[in-house]
C-alpha cells in the first residue's frame, strides 16, 4: 500500500457512526424461569402469528432434550436457566437520575472513547434533555433505504410486516435445534434485526444496530437475519464500542446470513460486553451462533473485534454451498484479567472452486485464556477448493494462555490448504524502544497491539476501525505492572 497524504489525513480524523433505528417496546417483565407457558407468553406479548409461536415451542421442546456443550476451552459456573427472566421491558429513562449517579470509572471510559454526553446519558438510562439528532437522522435514513426497496427493521416488526420472507429464511441456516444455545435463542428471542436487500441492489450505507442496542437493551437473546438477494451487496455493523454493563449474565444470540447468487455480505462486529472486574467477578457469558450461506459466486466476510464478556463462545461460519463462493473470517479477540474466549470459525466447502480465508489474531493479557478453534472442511464434491488460515497469538506477561485448535477435514484431493500460526510476546526491548521515543508504556502496548491486529482492523469500515483501535487500547489498560 502506498501511503498517500490522503490516507494520512484519514488516519488523523474520527467520524461518527452510521445510523440505525430504535424499537419502542412497552411492556412489563415476565416472571423468572422458563417453561412452555413463558415461551407462549413471549410470543403473545409480541403479538406474533401462530406459526411463530409454534416455531418457538418446537425449539423449546428440542432445547429441553439438549445438553449444554462442554467441549469449549472455557470454565465457568453454568447459568441457572430458571433464575433468568426471559422478557423484560426496555429500561426507561429515570427522570431523577443524572450523570452524577453513574460510576465515574465508566464515565472516564466513555470520555476516552469520545462518546458524547448525550450518548452517555442514553447508555446509562439518563434522560436526554435535547432531542438527539439520531431520531431525525434515522428517519431520513429509512427513507433512502425504502427508495431502494431495502428492508431493515426489528425482527419482531418483520414478523408482522414481512412474514413470508421471515418464514422462508429464518432457521434455514441455523436450525432451531442446531445447538443448545441456538435452540434456547429460537425459543425465547426477544428481538433483533431483519434485513433484506433486493436483487441487484447495493446498499448505499452501512447498516448498524448501534443505537437500538443502546436503547433497548435487547442484546440478551438477539436474533438477526440478513438476506442479500441475487447480485446485491450489504455491509452490516453490529454492536457498539461503548462498554455496556448489561446485568443479564447470559447472552445467546443467533445470526443468520444468506447470500444468494452473486451477492456479498460484509458483517462486522465489535463486542464489548461487560468482562467482569479485575478479580474475575461478574461479566457476561456470550454464547453466539453465527452462520452464513453462500450460493454461487457469493461472498460472506465476517469481521469481529471481541474485547468484552467474561466467557465468549463464538464461531462465525460460512457454508460455501455455491460454486466459486468465498468465505472470509477476520478476527481480533482480546482477553485480559480473568476473561476466557473460545472463538474461531468453520469454513465448509461444498461447491467447486470455493475459497476461504481465515485471519485470527488473539491477544491475551492478565490471567486470561484465549483459544482459537477453527474447522476447514472440504467436501468430496468441492473441486479445487482453497483455504488459507493464519492464526497469530500475542501474549502479554506469563500468566495468560493462548491456544490454537485448527481442525482440517479434506475429502477432495484437489484441495489446497495452507495454515500458518505464530505466537509472540510483547518484548521489553520493544517497549523500551517506544519509551525512548517518548511513548509511555500503555500507549506503546496499544501501538504494538494495533500493529499486530492491523490486517483485521483494516477490514473494518473506517469509522468502526478508529473506535475499535481505541477499544483495544482501553481493554488492555492496566495489563502491565
Amino acid at each position: 500500500m502506498a501511503y498517500t497524504e490522503e490516507e494520512l489525513k484519514k488516519e488523523l480524523e474520527t467520524k461518527e457512526y452510521e445510523y440505525g433505528f430504535y424499537t419502542d417496546l412497552k411492556s412489563d417483565t415476565l416472571p423468572k424461569g422458563l417453561n412452555e407457558d413463558i415461551v407462549v407468553a413471549i410470543s403473545k406479548k409480541k403479538n406474533e402469528p401462530q406459526w411463530m409461536t409454534d416455531w418457538r415451542i418446537d425449539a423449546f421442546r428440542a432445547w429441553q432434550e439438549m445438553e449444554e456443550p462442554e467441549w469449549a476451552n472455557v470454565h465457568y459456573e453454568k447459568p441457572d436457566f430458571q433464575a433468568i427472566s426471559y422478557y423484560s421491558a426496555p429500561k426507561k429513562a429515570d427522570p431523577n437520575k443524572t450523570l452524577n449517579d453513574v460510576d465515574p470509572e465508566l464515565l472516564e471510559m466513555y470520555r476516552k472513547l469520545g462518546i458524547s454526553v448525550d450518548e452517555q446519558k442514553k447508555l446509562q438510562n439518563v434522560a436526554v434533555d435535547i432531542v438527539v439528532d439520531s431520531v431525525s437522522v434515522a428517519t431520513t435514513f429509512q427513507k433512502t433505504l425504502a427508495e431502494k426497496g431495502i428492508i431493515f427493521m426489528p425482527i419482531s416488526e418483520a414478523i408482522q410486516k414481512h412474514p413470508d420472507l421471515v418464514k422462508k429464511y429464518m432457521g434455514t441456516i441455523v436450525p432451531k435445534k442446531d445447538n443448545f444455545y441456538a435452540a434456547l435463542n429460537s425459543a425465547v428471542f426477544t428481538d433483533g434485526s431483519f434485513c433484506y436487500i433486493p436483487k441487484g441492489v447495493r446498499c448505499p450505507m452501512e447498516l448498524s444496530t448501534y443505537f437500538r442496542i443502546n436503547e433497548g437493551g435487547t442484546g440478551q437473546f438477539e436474533r438477526t437475519l440478513v438476506v442479500a438477494d441475487k447480485g446485491s451487496y450489504v455491509s452490516y455493523l453490529e454492536g457498539c464500542t461503548a462498554p455496556s454493563r448489561d446485568e443479564n449474565q447470559l447472552h445467546a444470540a443467533v445470526v443468520e446470513l444468506i447470500a444468494l447468487d452473486d451477492a456479498e455480505i460484509k458483517y462486522s462486529t465489535v463486542q464489548n460486553w461487560y468482562p467482569g472486574n479485575k478479580e474475575g467477578k461478574g461479566g457476561v457469558y456470550n454464547f453466539v451462533t453465527k452462520r452464513g450461506l453462500c450460493e454461487n459466486n457469493a461472498k460472506i466476510s465476517w469481521t469481529q473485534v471481541e474485547t468484552g464478556s467474561a466467557v465468549t463462545w463464538k464461531y462465525p461460519s460460512c457454508i460455501l454451498k455455491g460454486d466459486n463462493s468465498i468465505g472470509e473470517f477476520y478476527s481480533i479477540a482480546v482477553t485480559n484479567n480473568y476473561q476466557q474466549a473460545d472463538t474461531g470459525t468453520k469454513m465448509v466447502h461444498l461447491g467447486k472452486n470455493t475459497r476461504s480465508t481465515i485471519i485470527s489474531k488473539g491477544i491475551s493479557a492478565g490471567k486470561s485464556q484465549n483459544s482459537y478453534r477453527g474447522l476447514v472442511q472440504i467436501n468430496s464434491r468441492a473441486e479445487n477448493a482453497r483455504n488459507f488460515s493464519q492464526c497469530d497469538s500475542l501474549l502479554m506477561g506469563n500468566e495468560c494462555g493462548a491456544h490454537t485448535f485448527p481442525y482440517i477435514e479434506v475429502k477432495n484431493k484437489t484441495a489446497q490448504i495452507e495454515h500458518e500460526a505464530t505466537t509472540s510476546k510483547i518484548g521489553e526491548d520493544q517497549i523500551f524502544y517506544c519509551n525512548q521515543r517518548g511513548i509511555e508504556t500503555e500507549k506503546a502496548i496499544a501501538l504494538i497491539v494495533n500493529g499486530f491486529s492491523k490486517e483485521v482492523l483494516n477490514k473494518l469500515p473506517m469509522e468502526f476501525a478508529v473506535e475499535a483501535q481505541k477499544l483495544l487500547e482501553i481493554s488492555l489498560e492496566g495489563s502491565v505492572g
Binding site: M1, K9, Q430, N435, G438, I439, T441, L447, K454
Partner: protein, 250 residues
C-alpha cells in the same frame, strides 16, 4: 548540558559501568570509542533510562537536573534521543504512524495539542528529503524486514523528526554503505546547532571524518581511560586499542 558523575551501573549484580565522568556542553560533538563489550551501549542505555540496568552509584544530570527519577519516556520528552545499535521491529506499525504517535506523545507531555495533520505532513516531507528517504518506505512496518542500513537511516530520520537536545548515536555507521553514510552524516550535521549536542559511539574513524568530534573518549572496561581531541581517533585507528589496554594494566 549533560553531566555524568562517577556513574556505576550493573545488570544482574554484574558491574558494567565503573565510574564514568563525562560532561557534554551544548554545541559539542563527542565521540565514544572502545573495544567490543567495553560498555558503550550500556552507557547509552543508562542515559536513556533503561530500567534493566541498575545505577548503583553516581548520577546523570541534564541541564543541572538529576534524571534518576525520570522514566525513559520522560527523558525523551526532555530531549534525549538514542539511535539504537539494534533497532527493534514493530510489526504492523508504519514508520509514519510510529512517528506521529511519538511526536504527539511528546507534545502532550508539554501540554500541547496534537500536531495538525498538514504540519505533520510538511515535517515528514522535509525530513525524509533531508535523509533521502523514499516516501513509500514510511508506510512500511517499523524496522520489519529493513536492511541494516535502512534501519540506521530510519533511526536518524526519527532523530530529525524529533529534534532532540541530546542525540546519542550508537554505532549508527555499522551497516551503512559509503553513500548512505554520507547522507546520514550530512543529515546529522544539518541538524546540529549551538543548542544541541551529539554523542557518537563508533569503532571507526570513517564516520568521524564526516561528523567531526570536538572530543574523543575511549571506554574500556566500564571506564573512560583516555580523552582527547579528534586526533585521538586517528591514533586509535592506527594502533588499535591494545596499547591503551596495556597502559591501563600498568
Amino acid at each position: 548540558m549533560l553531566k555524568i558523575n562517577d556513574l556505576h551501573a550493573s545488570v544482574d549484580d554484574k558491574e558494567i559501568l565503573r565510574g564514568i565522568n563525562l560532561t557534554v556542553n551544548a554545541g559539542e560533538v563527542h565521540a565514544i570509542m572502545g573495544p567490543n563489550g567495553s560498555g558503550k551501549s550500556t552507557l547509552a542505555s543508562v542515559i536513556a533510562g533503561k530500567e534493566e540496568f541498575e545505577v548503583t552509584k553516581g548520577s546523570v544530570e541534564l541541564d543541572g537536573e538529576d534524571l534518576e527519577d525520570d522514566a525513559p519516556e520522560e527523558r525523551a520528552h526532555k530531549g534525549i534521543f538514542l539511535s539504537f545499535q539494534y533497532p527493534v521491529e514493530i510489526p504492523g506499525v508504519s514508520v509514519t504512524n510510529f512517528m506521529k504517535t511519538a511526536i504527539n506523545e511528546s507534545r502532550k507531555a508539554r501540554g500541547l495539542e496534537d500536531m495538525p495533520a498538514n504540519e505533520m505532513l510538511k515535517l515528514i516531507r522535509e525530513k525524509s528529503e533531508l535523509l533521502e528517504i523514499d516516501r513509500k518506505f514510511l508506510s512500511r512496518s517499523l524496522n520489519e524486514g529493513f536492511s541494516g542500513g535502512e534501519k540506521k537511516r530510519n533511526e536518524i530520520f526519527q532523530m530529525a523528526m524529533l529534534e532532540p537536545k541530546l542525540a546519542i548515536l550508537d554505532e549508527t555507521d555499522s551497516g551503512l554503505d559509503i553513500d548512505a553514510l554520507r547522507i546520514v552524516a550530512n543529515g546529522v550535521n544539518k541538524l546540529k546547532s549551538k543548542d544541541n549536542a551529539v554523542i557518537v559511539i563508533t569503532h571507526y574513524q570513517r564516520l568521524l571524518e564526516h561528523i567531526v568530534p570536538d572530543f574523543v573518549h575511549v571506554l574500556h572496561n566500564g571506564k573512560i581511560v583516555k580523552s582527547g581531541g579528534k586526533e585521538l581517533a586517528h591514533e586509535l585507528e592506527e594502533k588499535g586499542y591494545d596499547w591503551l589496554k596495556q597502559e591501563q594494566a600498568v
